[in-house]
Assembly symmetry: C2
Homo-oligomer: 394 residues x 2
Amino acid sequence: MSAQSPPAPTAAERARAHAMVDGDERRARIAWSRVLEPRRERPGLPLTRLEVALHEIGYTTAWHRLVDGDLPRAESARAHVPAVDVDAELSRVTRSRARVVVPGDADWPTALDHPLIRPHLIHVRGQGCLADLTQRAVAVVGSRAGTGYGEAVARELGSGIARSGWTVVSGAAFGIDAAAHQGGLVVDGPGVAVLPCGPDRTYPVSNQRLVDAVAESGAVVTELATGTVARRHRFLARNRLIAALSRCCIVVEAGLRSGSLNTAGWAEALHLPVGAVPGPVTQMSSAGCNEWIQKTRAGLVADTGDVLALAGSVGDAPDEVAELLGPARPLDALTAAQRGVHDLLSLRQESAVGDLATELVLPVEEVIAILSVLQIEGWVTQGESGGWLRTPAG
Amino acid sequence: MSAQSPPAPTAAERARAHAMVDGDERRARIAWSRVLEPRRERPGLPLTRLEVALHEIGYTTAWHRLVDGDLPRAESARAHVPAVDVDAELSRVTRSRARVVVPGDADWPTALDHPLIRPHLIHVRGQGCLADLTQRAVAVVGSRAGTGYGEAVARELGSGIARSGWTVVSGAAFGIDAAAHQGGLVVDGPGVAVLPCGPDRTYPVSNQRLVDAVAESGAVVTELATGTVARRHRFLARNRLIAALSRCCIVVEAGLRSGSLNTAGWAEALHLPVGAVPGPVTQMSSAGCNEWIQKTRAGLVADTGDVLALAGSVGDAPDEVAELLGPARPLDALTAAQRGVHDLLSLRQESAVGDLATELVLPVEEVIAILSVLQIEGWVTQGESGGWLRTPAG
């Protein structure tokens, strides 16, 4: 052993560390969250042998092996073992009004099980069930240095997404993130904010009220242990959770080196659709978005309809997705106009758009727009002759 | 014959009309230009039987048959025969400082022979040879109601295109067209303006100075007979010539119903690349461009490099096109920086971009930009190992 190696835990420390976890997967994950920070800064980085081992042998076995020095390339993690106190960490999490959520819990979103994502655990603050909130969620991200244009569009999209019954997921940062969250909150839509710091902290600190409002409406999430402060590599690792918790990722405004393009990269790696809002070619603040659109890796997004079309295009056709998931909102959460259209439809006999418009005294375009939203949400479907039906779910 | 039918030419009128053309194809085309206006408003419109006949039997034979009443569905054209005076038309064209150009003339651009295009003839005013001017030409079009943003981008692209040795083709209209022309003129680049009126007129009248400047730098073109005034259907037919005279079509700024999208449609029908400049999604003035990009029918264009990449992508890879055409400018027309890069290259031994940058004390990005332009112009090419060579032509 070289002089630089950290001291191995003493026999007493090892005994305490074994007992502290005691074969409990949740406690093992909490212990690991304090000794091994996810360093997943971009999709292309290979997993370390340790990360692979954690998955292969499981957190509990891995913990006991770590404590005993039987895990290769784990010297740094092992050096932190003596300082770990699972009960103390649980107290700190509880004091920060968060809860620990691990695989198997009802509010664990299964999208987090993807090999590229796999946090040890997540801390969730808020009343919402994260698994439900992220069933129909869209990541809306962008530059911290958002312009008036970018922030206006982010707010507009945030409101539109929320109004359609989808959840806005973002990072609560200054600029575009905050504007997107605000847009959702303004129409009482639930939001999800993923933080680059421990659950007992807020970043940026001055967005504390916004983060609290998001927690109240939906959930504030972080995979980091208590006391962890925001750092560059943590923003990047956090971005993968934003992407994973969403059905598509929209970049509203981004310069060429904006961190939000990293989030888009994670979405791409997860085979989720990426959309970008174009901007003036004379503005560096939109150069990243324009470049992504140019390289055809991102669809051009001009309004909420474009976002929902992208979100609905994941994997299956929109109505298949809708059928799979069932309606996103209870019937009584529909707007009056949506309810009006829905109520006119039959389960078996198709209705023509023109007839619906006449009946409701609404412009045809508006009826089409309402039907699109209802279709994405699983309330209505198109019949073989092109007319509209309500779904059995509705 | 019904009472509504126009009177047939008298025997004397027929004799005069035959003699006036006298088997001369150029004179027959001039005669036809005064009796049959091209009604090609969009690519999808089928050719009339008369238009097909003109091509199949030739202008001279068709003229004599028209005069004799032997051409089906040509009553309207025949009614105009007595008023046609080829010599008088030639005088009027000459008085407007234009010349008649027909297939076979040295300055007839062969792109005009495309079945969708085929004007009877064109009137060309200006010192440039239109066939040469349009060997490397880009259509830059857009809304008449251009915003400050759109006009600034159009000017910038016009200058960049001209500086790279390419010709700006547009319609001399207010707004984007005028800005694109001006951008080219500012750097002494040759332009081509295609008008929606006869060669003895200018549209819009207040752009007279601009049109004169384009004529002096390059060429002003119209297929319409003298005295013809601008009308909606003539703008649309004119657009097909703008597209045909270019290697690609760039829409700088366009609302959803802008006529410039018609030009883009013609370019698409001719299998020419279409590019569009994105703009704020909050501005209706960019909605047409954004929509075209979204539907992936148009590449997103942010700068001159993007335009040249599109222009170079016609049919062949850029260096194949360059080989085909040879260098666009004489060596001494290169900028000092371009000349510097060119002079460093060998015919056989590849040079790396990094070495060129070091040698010239230029940023690598700038060297790459210069090489791209030189490549499109046929001066340099990339070797098998990815390094750069000068071409035998250079």
